[in-house]
């Protein structure tokens, strides 16, 4: 375990280096060779589908339960074997190695930030092509647009979102009451910053905490209505060449949060979120910004009065909103046509209203099939679990715009790693915010350029 971090970082670097070696084949955004239903109908015996994923803990158990359900429904025709392959970064490093030995799985459940890379290596059939060739299966239009928006590159939906999370502002109600802060006043980032200071002034308890992860910096940028990378968040004809966190509202937002850390109002801004979760559960901090996915961990601790509020915004309504988290399903272009159709049936099942309902109840993920909301049992569940309703409302209420789509680039893994170290330096006061953000922007530029060079080479 101890040698883990450097290995993961190296793996991430390796991943970028490997792109140069893999030749795009089978994919492409137009001109589909996607197989139709007959490919599976004509197949003899049981069609095997291998699935790799990065869902650990309770999320992994819920995923395996979905796999088991699918297998029992399709006994005798399709058999899915799902294997956990490490956290997103490890999973991707492993996928890379598999590309080189032609042993990629039929379906990869890849982390969101890998979208650019997975599109560039061209090992997958675009979801849009499979949906067109199999009209009786998954209808992409049934999925939440906020999620499909993320997995759409060059106008073509590449992958199918499976588990979608959304960042929330979690508040400890007892601490808020003690400080005289009204939770209905916490809608903008300025409200939250002011409330954090009030909490510390009135109670002596830390007001705010945020995991020093790049995902939250992306949120502070997207909720300001600002593209995280330019041009056009990497989603137009031109690839991303720079990040924008060193300018505009994003910079102002990061500066405000850094000030909270430096003045002692905020605590535990470590890259690992465990410290923030533990502090929140122990009532040592009034508000934390965290994924909806922590609900399971909060439930398993000692009970206390907490609430999830929408992520605070700072940009104009209608142009700003949080970026989704989670992962998407990528279907192998090198699998046999029968395996591809079987894999697509599995993706259809996983994103069905019923499977999404069950999966979301067991995890903190938000159902991405819009038809889930029509189910009577789902309505009942939401009434009994208002937090799940808040998550769903935030996702459906997010405007589908460039800023909330998030940045897509194969260099994101490298950019993210560097951003994290600069953010930690800014939060701890090792560097001024200006210095840290300038350094982050410089390294991002180099990472984007390196990636493009390797892709071209």
């Amino acid at each position: 375990m101890r040698a883990r971090t450097p290995l993961v970082v190296t793996a991430a670097g390796l991943l970028v280096a490997l792109t140069a070696c893999s030749s795009p084949s089978g994919s492409g955004s137009a001109g589909s060779s996607a197989p139709g239903p007959s490919a599976l109908a004509d197949a003899q015996g049981v069609t095997e589908v291998s699935v790799w994923h990065g869902l650990g803990g309770a999320n992994g158990e819920a995923f395996q339960a979905a796999v088991d359900d699918f297998n029992s429904e399709n006994e005798g025709t399709i058999a899915v074997t799902a294997t956990y392959q490490g956290v997103y970064a490890d999973l991707l490093a492993k996928y890379n190695a598999a590309i080189r030995s032609d042993s990629v799985p039929t379906v990869l459940l890849g982390g969101d930030i890998a979208t650019g890379f997975l599109t560039d290596v061209g090992q997958s059939i675009p979801a849009a092509d499979m949906a067109a060739a199999n009209p009786d299966d998954l209808v992409l239009g049934d999925l939440a647009e906020q999620a499909t928006n993320y997995y759409t590159v060059d106008g073509v939906q590449q992958a199918v979102p499976m588990n979608v999370s959304t960042p929330m502002l979690w508040v400890n109600r007892d601490v808020l009451a003690q400080a005289g802060v009204d939770e209905s006043d916490l809608t903008t980032l300025d409200d939250v910053v002011a409330a954090a200071r009030t909490i510390t002034d009135e109670t002596g308890i830390a007001g705010y905490s945020m995991q020093a992860d790049d995902w939250y910096i992306e949120q502070l940028t997207a909720t300001a209505g600002q593209d995280f990378c330019l041009p056009a968040n990497g989603r137009g004809d031109e690839p991303a060449t720079e990040i924008t966190i060193d300018s505009g509202l994003a910079k102002e937002n990061i500066t405000k949060i850094a000030d909270l850390y430096r003045s002692g109002v905020a605590v535990d801004g470590a890259p690992d979120g465990s410290a923030a979760i533990s502090a929140f559960q122990a009532g040592k901090v009034g508000m934390i910004v965290m994924s909806s996915g922590i609900l399971g961990a909060l439930k398993s601790g000692e009970p206390f009065d907490y609430e999830a509020l929408p992520f605070p915004t700072s940009g104009p309504a209608g142009e700003s909103g949080p970026v989704i988290g989670g992962s998407g399903l990528w279907l192998s272009a090198s699998a046999t046509p029968a395996e591809q159709v079987a894999g697509w049936k599995f993706e259809t099942y996983l994103t069905s209203p019923e499977a999404q309902e069950t999966f979301s109840h067991a995890t903190g993920y938000v159902p991405i099939n819009t038809k889930t909301a029509d189910s009577p049992s789902q309505k009942e569940f939401l009434q009994a679990n208002p937090l799940a309703q808040t998550f769903a409302d935030q996702l459906s209420g997010t405007p589908v715009v460039s800023a909330s789509a998030g940045c897509v680039s194969g260099a994101m893994t490298a950019v993210k790693a560097e951003n994290i170290s600069q953010i930690v330096a800014a939060f701890t006061g090792q560097k001024t915010v200006d210095e840290a953000l300038d350094a982050a922007a410089e390294s991002a530029k180099a990472a984007f350029a390196d990636y493009q060079e390797q892709l071209a080479g």
Binding site: T83, S103, A297, E302
Partner: protein, 271 residues
């Protein structure tokens, strides 16, 4: 004066021990309590708040028994092979006379300078090509020989007087017998160190076992335990419970080997 320096020495040892023991202690306490317990009640939780629920959760998420067995198999295979190849190579590098001995040793040293990550992909392709992916042998194969044990044992053997080796040869012992019955017993502390080093590095391997195994039942426990860290949000206490399960065997190994090590040192070179 002597009293003061002894007290200072004890103080330094106590501080160092505390630095080493503190994270282990907090891991154990966190593993045995619900989330946030330490943050709420400090480092000494009441007996009533202790729970095994986190360990139960670990055993639900991870195939503990098969993965422990795989880890034990990998550790055994890797350690025996590394110490055997290390001892044979070190023997050849110290005792017999042959041309190119210096160059061979330099090549061994050179392997220490190659970062492990840079050879992971070629290893993956080779092991996959010979059909050993997803097997215990595949996990151990690239590590059946390692530069460090060779270096360590070579230095140890070089400290054994040449006359002892010559005497054993004159008495009619062959190379293998000289190595096993004369040289190795004379270097017991270093051999123990090599065993501990090899075993720990085999036990702690993460990236390679993850890469080369595909199914849960052929994974090592280190890879299995990593499944407890959910990609977006994890349950810290359950993570600590997993960490404790992985750390316990290494702690036992070090404690047991420590006694051998001290014994070897105390008994002197020859016995």
């Amino acid at each position: 004066m002597l009293g003061v320096s002894a007290a200072a020495r004890v103080a330094v040892v106590v501080v160092l021990a505390a630095v080493v023991a503190f994270p282990i202690y907090t891991s154990f306490v966190s593993a045995l309590t619900v989330n946030g317990e330490i943050a709420r009640h400090g480092l000494l939780p009441g007996l009533g708040s202790l729970t095994l629920a986190n360990f139960a959760e670990v055993s639900r998420s991870v195939d503990l028994v098969p993965q422990y067995l795989v880890s034990i198999a990998v550790v055994t295979l890797q350690t025996l092979a590394q110490v055997a190849t290390g001892a044979l190579a070190a023997y050849a590098l110290v005792f017999p006379r042959w041309r190119g001995k210096g160059l061979a040793f330099a090549l061994v040293l050179l392997t220490l300078a190659i970062p492990g990550e840079s050879i992971v992909i070629p290893n993956y392709e080779l092991v996959s090509a010979i059909g050993l992916r997803d097997t215990v042998l595949g996990v151990a194969l690239p590590y059946l020989a390692a530069g460090y044990p060779i270096f360590l044992l070579r230095q140890a053997f070089a400290g054994v007087p040449l006359e002892i080796w010559e005497a054993s040869r004159l008495d009619g012992a062959g190379d293998l017998r000289s190595l096993v019955e004369v040289i190795l017993p004379a270097c017991r502390p270093e051999v123990t160190t090599a065993v501990v080093w090899s075993a720990l590095s085999a036990w702690n391997g993460f990236f390679w076992p993850l890469l080369i195994t595909d199914s849960s039942s052929s994974r090592t426990i280190q890879v299995g335990i990593s499944q407890l860290a959910a990609s977006e949000a994890s349950d810290p206490s359950v993570l600590f419970a997993g960490t404790v399960l992985v750390v316990l065997p290494t702690m036992l190994l070090v404690v047991l080997a420590q006694r051998l090590l001290v014994n070897g040192l105390a008994r002197g070179v020859l016995h």
